[in-house]
Symmetry: C2
Subunit: 126 residues, 2 copies
């Protein structure tokens, strides 16, 4: 039995950014190497600790990838034929600069538009 | 529970549900076997195609796991000491029953409260 919760403060556990990257460079979105490097570099740039990573190239188009970090995860799914990528960055570290990550990913994929949603996770923990 | 989908645009590439599971059974959240089975069974129950999976047990507490599916991903992070789990289900298949997945996960982890956010991804693709 784990006995810890009673003494912990009622604050948010995680912080999540959901990015929709539009009008990207198609060939970048379809390269598993580019996508993998982008996500791993994002993790490194924001100073999180990588635990595991998995990437998959779909046929005929598209890449999915997830980097599990000690602070939660980064995930990406690309649709080169739509010039679109969906990115999720979920962390539980307070020092992570998610805006820097956003700018980096926008640059790598040459996204002309980025729509960002940002919210806290676990904010109702007792 | 928060229900947002009805007001969202009809055309989108993906569909995402973000679940905060509160007041769960601690031991279940801390078992990598229970967490892995729950996420894989969720994927199977909603009929998606599993491509890769990765699970990690943290010390002293907590489990992170991601199942990459042909339709995008499922991810879970647990904080047994807070009796809290964060789940993301991101699909691009229109036939996926995400509400069924929510009910299943709530039951497995014996969550007393679930806060759900739901939104579409890539709805501005040209």
């Amino acid at each position: 039995m784990l006995e810890l919760a009673d003494s912990l403060p009622a604050v948010a556990i995680g912080h999540q950014i959901v990015l929709d990257l539009y009008d990207c460079a198609r060939e970048r979105l379809d390269s598993v190497d580019v996508v993998r490097t982008a996500l791993v570099q994002t993790a490194r740039a924001v100073g999180v600790t990588i635990v595991e990573e998995v990437f998959h190239k779909f046929s005929p188009w598209g890449v999915s990838g997830v980097v599990v970090i000690a602070e939660s995860h980064l995930a990406i799914h690309t649709w080169p034929e739509r010039r679109y990528a969906a990115v999720d960055i979920f962390t539980c570290g307070s020092s992570v600069d998610l805006h820097r990550a956003t700018r980096y990913l926008q640059r790598v994929f040459e996204a002309e538009r980025v729509v960002k949603k940002e919210f806290r996770r676990g904010s109702e923990v007792a």
